[in-house]
Symmetry: none
Subunit: 221 residues, 4 copies
Amino acid sequence: MPKTPQAAAAARIAPSRKPVIRRRGASPEKTAHTRQSIVDAALAEFLESGFANTTIESVAKRAGVAKGLIYRYFPAKEALFSAVVQQEIVNAHIDVDDAKRAPGETVEAFLRRTLVVSIRAIEKKSRADIARMVISEGSHFPAITDIYRRDVIDPLLQKIKSLAIAARKSGELKDDRLVKNPYLLVAPVWAGIVINKFLDRAHPVDIGELFEMQLDLVFGK
Amino acid sequence: MPKTPQAAAAARIAPSRKPVIRRRGASPEKTAHTRQSIVDAALAEFLESGFANTTIESVAKRAGVAKGLIYRYFPAKEALFSAVVQQEIVNAHIDVDDAKRAPGETVEAFLRRTLVVSIRAIEKKSRADIARMVISEGSHFPAITDIYRRDVIDPLLQKIKSLAIAARKSGELKDDRLVKNPYLLVAPVWAGIVINKFLDRAHPVDIGELFEMQLDLVFGK
Amino acid sequence: MPKTPQAAAAARIAPSRKPVIRRRGASPEKTAHTRQSIVDAALAEFLESGFANTTIESVAKRAGVAKGLIYRYFPAKEALFSAVVQQEIVNAHIDVDDAKRAPGETVEAFLRRTLVVSIRAIEKKSRADIARMVISEGSHFPAITDIYRRDVIDPLLQKIKSLAIAARKSGELKDDRLVKNPYLLVAPVWAGIVINKFLDRAHPVDIGELFEMQLDLVFGK
Amino acid sequence: MPKTPQAAAAARIAPSRKPVIRRRGASPEKTAHTRQSIVDAALAEFLESGFANTTIESVAKRAGVAKGLIYRYFPAKEALFSAVVQQEIVNAHIDVDDAKRAPGETVEAFLRRTLVVSIRAIEKKSRADIARMVISEGSHFPAITDIYRRDVIDPLLQKIKSLAIAARKSGELKDDRLVKNPYLLVAPVWAGIVINKFLDRAHPVDIGELFEMQLDLVFGK
DNA sequence: GATGAATGAGAGTTCATTCAT
DNA sequence: GATGAATGAACTCTCATTCAT
């Protein structure tokens, strides 16, 4: 059942409309809320301090719950980390669906209309932070790297490739470089994330601008 | 006394030629050798396991010295890490000295002759590994990020800028994009390092090839 | 009101016959049933894992009730354990009532008719398991050891002593050894339990056979 | 290399007579002493409180060392327990070597001269305490039960069997009961340990006396 | 009565750092 | 300088017990 993240989030908040069978004890809503508090707190802590320097105690304190409670929701610190990151990866998905290209719209125009916007938004949301965490901690958590690749990178490259093929057919592109190596288009995005999040927080590059330049180059402008 | 990185590296290897005054205890040569054993072992361990998962004990064992001895050379684990990474950053320096450009040689030809070679060598040596470590651990060690920027990134960008200006003058470049944003040229290198070291070790990209494509793009090929 | 153990056991099973006054909440029958579920589950868990390695949660799960409910019936884990063991001790009672000896029946014949049968049954029922638990955990629960001694050991020794006196009078026994030390007769039983339950589960001794041999020895066969 | 425990203990205390190579750091003697402190403290704590109720901290405090130090000597609490118990099991060995029987000495006389003495000593030393611990904790530590059986029980039964065969040949025994079931002779010892250590510490039985009675019975006295 | 989420004290274990030798 | 035993703070994780529902 492929729920969208939004649907999942909604389900968490809106209770079913069926006659609610009132069970004893804590309500599912409260449970979900507690769980979300923990996840939110954990995400914040992991982003701030990384996996190793985050303590369960600090997560609990931030979430406003007792230490032990976290273990009712996640069996171990690793599991908490993975769950938190995986949940966020879903949101990191970058959308450039070729099907949405308007009839007659050039590939370049389409990319400027969609991808540039997405990429300019990268740093607004926490997407770049998630990327940073996958990069930082991924070597100790192969699972999340795999998921990131599967859910974020591979689909993006695939779509770029499709668009490159289309652009080649229509004559927008003069050669097969991008078809063969779709990384070429998005390389500046990765580079920008690394620069801004790791290497030069004081003088960040403008990732959107960098990406537009690359678009210019690729399309021979 | 502003030593160049190269001088510092040399000092590490070549013992002083002044007449050695024999003191009690170990000779300076032995001391230097011991220190280097520790640094080498620490580098290997940090690369393998990251800062948090490396123990002083494992470094000591690998270096073949006692745990306590490490504290004679480095006051704390953090200091050891910084020292090790800083020392390696020196080797990560990428050389594209404009002064070495042959008379009449185009900027593009010069870059192909020098930078492409350097970049193709990046993954051979441990330069990419160091970059990876700076990226991974840098947020907890601002000092090493600063050094990396100062010794590796900034000089590289500066030289690219100079070369871009020269290329603009000679007409090799048709616009000021690269002058204004030298990152444009090396972005694929960073992207490649991230991809290969963090995200997709199974399907690495060819960083050299990616960089040459970028050179083609930038010079309008 | 000094209930006999049997009466207490009966009370547990047979609900009161008085007209039940219907109150809000669960009926006394259901309450008794719930309590018994808990006790049964607890017994099983304690036997399997010992006191320290049994969790209230596992007992609740096995009993099919919520964790908190157990605390309505027993104020603490220790109390649950004591209650469970004490209830079972009642069943461990070994019956050799001298009054039941048939007229003209020798003591030895009587013992073979009654005690041997009881003892051969020891391992069938959970009596030996209870003995094992009293032995294992008794040092931390003086109360249950006391109860075990009072309800199981002392009555048994007392009856053996009476029978020994009778046998001495009738000339079946040639000396006062058994009168002075009734343990002599049942020692192999304890030894057998220890061997079979603790030390050599792979090669159990036949406790009944061992006891009959001892009977032979004591009566000079 | 079959060292006796005594030899091992001596070696621990007496330094080699060879020219001592003075190494840096702590001396092996001190290390051995520390280790022994830990073992002694652990034994005492385990005997007092059992495995589950003994904390590493209490052992450390009793031994006068820091908590963490225990982990230099034993990798885990379980390992500490096993090591301590196994070391003690060696001392629990009961010696009745048939070869030491004097020429012309009856089996019964030999047993009275050796085994009775050993058994009377059982409660003086900590042998009975070890037996108690093996019994109490054995179900969670199969390894120590195995060792106890292998090092204490099986050899004892084997020797009793040999002696029973000898006694049968010489006519001291009138039947094969003891040959077939050597437990018969030592059952009262196990029973006595259980009684005294678990069930009735207030009114202990005299194990030696009980055993001598059994000897009388077995040899038809 | 019944639930199970929530609490929090405390356990085992690790490891950077110190220090007597 | 060199050793590695010793320290102790801090961490992850468990579980008896409580309490809002």
